[in-house]
């Protein structure tokens, strides 16, 4: 006798206990402190803040620990928490020209005013596993401090009018994607906002595709800079701007070829990427995808996935993608039963058609499958094929 599945509530409670045990691991090993995560897993913290759209190292560290190092789960935790936070207002635009630079490199000029500054990068580590990383780092001070304001490499081209120009304030006031849904076609500010929250892996793949022929691209890394930028707000009740702190940012400005079109002379064009914290791979990917998404504005052929804004923007978010892919593990008994029933009808009809090739199509459920099935003993006695028949009044009891 079938007993209806009960006890979902208890199963969930037991599962939560198992999860807590698995997360903690061997209790003889000390639990990770948030400060350890914040200080020693800073790039993971940066990614969680970045894609979680919440700049708070402590909360990001907490999310990483709670998610047992699963970055997408940590990002989800932070996003859900973010929903509950009141919105006090918006900052003034950040001025990355005034960034206190810790890293700044250009792939387009050998030497640039202010110099190439490698900063803390994995680029030249040779990726040999360091079996004794416990020794404290020994950092020698530079001979001279970096200049307080590093000119932007692209401004040098701008002076020659070789690269497209954007004046500050040219852009319309951006919508807040966390408060309003995106509508298509989306303007560039909205697209950049979406990409900035987008999944790094997705953007990396999309960016890579533009380098392999799936979009006109030809990019150069004009400048990548990372460092601290002041955050300024101008509260209505005060009427003047105040600095509320500073955050780490990584900015990438790509330079792309452009042969001219849509009334624009041949010149270099820009792709832009910006991430919170140190996130160079993401910033570079974002800049490539941003440029690919400008194809319509620049009258370039639009054929590649990375140029299709509905495709890119609708699938970039890891929280949306991860939830929807994983919802497939939820029960779908009802839809599956509906499909099963339909498939049995189609299968019966297929048998009928095969036996009676000249016969009329259609009229399923009246004579077709019945006639076919009645010619031989039921081939699968345990499988009640009859219930899959197309509905007909005769079947209704």
């Amino acid at each position: 006798m079938y007993v209806a599945v009960k006890g979902g509530e208890q199963a969930i409670a037991r599962s939560l206990e198992l999860l807590a045990e698995a997360r903690r691991g061997n209790p003889a090993v000390p639990e990770l402190e948030l400060a350890q995560i914040r200080e020693q897993l800073r790039l993971g913290v940066a990614r969680v803040m970045q894609e979680g759209s919440l700049y708070d190292e402590e909360l990001a560290a907490l999310a990483i620990r709670q998610a047992a190092g699963d970055m997408l789960e940590a990002i989800f935790l932070l996003r859900a928490y973010r929903t509950t936070l009141p919105r006090f207002g918006y900052t003034l635009p950040l001025d990355t020209t005034a960034m206190r630079v810790r890293r700044r490199v250009s792939g387009t000029f050998k030497d640039i005013p202010g110099g190439q500054v490698l900063g803390p990068t994995y680029d030249y580590t040779q990726r040999l596993l360091d079996f004794d990383a416990s020794a404290p780092a020994n950092v020698a001070a530079a001979d001279a401090p970096l200049p307080p304001n590093m000119p932007r490499v692209l401004d040098l081209l701008d002076a020659e009018a070789l690269i497209e120009r954007f004046e500050p304030g040219d852009d319309p006031e951006p919508i807040d994607l966390t408060r309003e849904p995106v509508t298509f076609p989306a303007d560039r500010a909205t697209r950049l906002q979406n990409l900035s929250r987008g999944d790094e892996g997705f953007l990396l793949g999309m960016a890579y595709s533009t380098q392999r022929g799936y979009a006109e691209s030809h990019p150069f890394a004009g400048e990548i800079r990372m460092g601290e930028v002041d955050v300024v707000v101008c509260p209505e009740e005060l009427g003047f701007a105040i600095e509320i702190g500073s955050i780490t940012l990584t900015e990438c400005q790509m330079i792309n070829q452009f042969h001219g079109g849509n009334g624009v002379p041949p010149q270099f064009t820009r792709g832009y990427g910006l991430t919170m914290g140190e996130g160079e791979r993401k910033a570079m990917s974002m800049a490539l995808v941003d440029r690919a998404l400008r194809c319509d504005e620049l009258a370039e052929p639009n054929y590649a996935p990375a140029q299709n804004q509905e495709f890119v923007l609708s699938h970039s978010d890891s929280v949306e993608a991860s939830g929807f892919v994983q919802h497939l593990k939820l029960p779908h008994y009802v839809d599956f039963q509906a499909e099963l029933s339909l498939l049995r009808t189609l299968a019966a009809q297929h048998v009928s058609d095969a036996r009676n090739p000249s016969g009329e199509q259609g009229e399923v459920g009246s004579v077709g499958p019945d006639a076919a099935l009645s010619q031989e003993p039921d081939p699968t006695p345990t499988l009640p094929c009859e219930q899959g028949k197309e509905p007909s009044e005769a079947l209704r009891t």
Partner: protein, 277 residues
């Protein structure tokens, strides 16, 4: 720290209620809204949860079903969520609930005017699989140009002899908007037509809300010579004997023996209680 009643802050609830009013005013029209990130994953009912959170008051009695059942883990989890963040009374009885959140079914028990049914919707755009571009589908809705869907249904008939859509079967609401009823089996479609209860649909990931107000005409698409028909079974529920309810097929042993039972656990339970009494 404590969360606001029903998790969402009051400003967000106001935004949701405004969008819902618009949805009720234009039956079947998909209203874009500022969907929030909820503490449950997208695809697991975030749209329905936001609608429920915007509607719940302290006196409401909430029922949550998934696949018609109150005891499936996702239904249990959403009910736990609202019991935790809103402290409302919950029930498994359809007749006792003021608000019912559902995934993939409409209860067998007839709903009343003082009840609201909230659907979780994975894909609000009925034309999506025929035309993936939202900029296009928006225009098609504006022009009430549903030829794509009619051609698709016609092609089904040409190929299979009948319409091969068994769930999420498209409907025309109030003679105007082509609408997804969410992935309910087409068996449930007739319950949408002139329902006394308000029906609200929430798609969180896709950031759309829509509504079927009470006593609104809802037609399932069909052709004159191929009228709309619902699933029927030769079986009756093996637990309660019902011959009118939607049945789940359950495999009961490793030889593949099947039995059929009501998908609506409350309906089945009530019937069995009546028989015993």
């Amino acid at each position: 720290m404590t969360y606001n009643f029903a998790f969402l802050d009051e400003d967000t609830k106001r935004m949701l209620r405004r969008a819902l009013l618009k949805a009720v005013a234009i039956p079947g029209y998909q209203v874009p809204f500022g969907s929030r990130e909820m503490p449950l994953p997208y695809g697991w009912g975030t749209g329905g949860i936001q609608v429920t959170a915007a509607l719940l008051g302290p006196d409401d009695v909430l029922k949550v079903i998934d696949q018609g059942a109150d005891d499936t883990t996702n239904a249990v989890n959403i009910r736990r969520f609202f019991a935790r963040v809103a402290g409302v009374t919950t029930t498994e009885r359809t007749a006792e609930a003021t608000l019912i959140q559902t995934r993939h079914r409409i209860p067998e028990t007839s709903l009343r005017e003082d009840q609201i049914l909230v659907f979780q919707v994975p894909e609000p755009e009925p034309l999506r699989t025929l035309e993936p571009r939202e900029a296009e589908t928006r225009t098609l809705h504006a022009l009430a140009d549903y030829g794509l869907m009619h051609v698709k249904l016609y092609e089904d008939i040409a190929q299979y002899g009948h319409i091969a859509t068994s769930y999420d079967y498209p409907v025309l609401v109030d003679g105007r908007f082509l609408t997804s009823p969410s992935p309910i089996p087409k068996f449930d479609n007739p319950k949408l037509d002139h329902s006394p209860a308000l029906m609200l649909f929430g798609a969180g990931r896709e950031k759309r809300l829509y509504a079927i107000p009470p006593y609104t005409k809802v037609e399932s698409l069909a052709f004159e010579d191929h009228p709309f028909e619902i699933q029927r079974w030769e079986h009756q529920c093996e637990l309660c004997g019902s011959g009118e309810s939607y049945l789940d097929e359950v495999i009961v042993d490793d030889r593949g023996t099947r039995m059929f039972v009501c998908s609506d656990t409350d309906f089945c339970g009530q019937r069995r209680a009546e028989v015993q009494a």
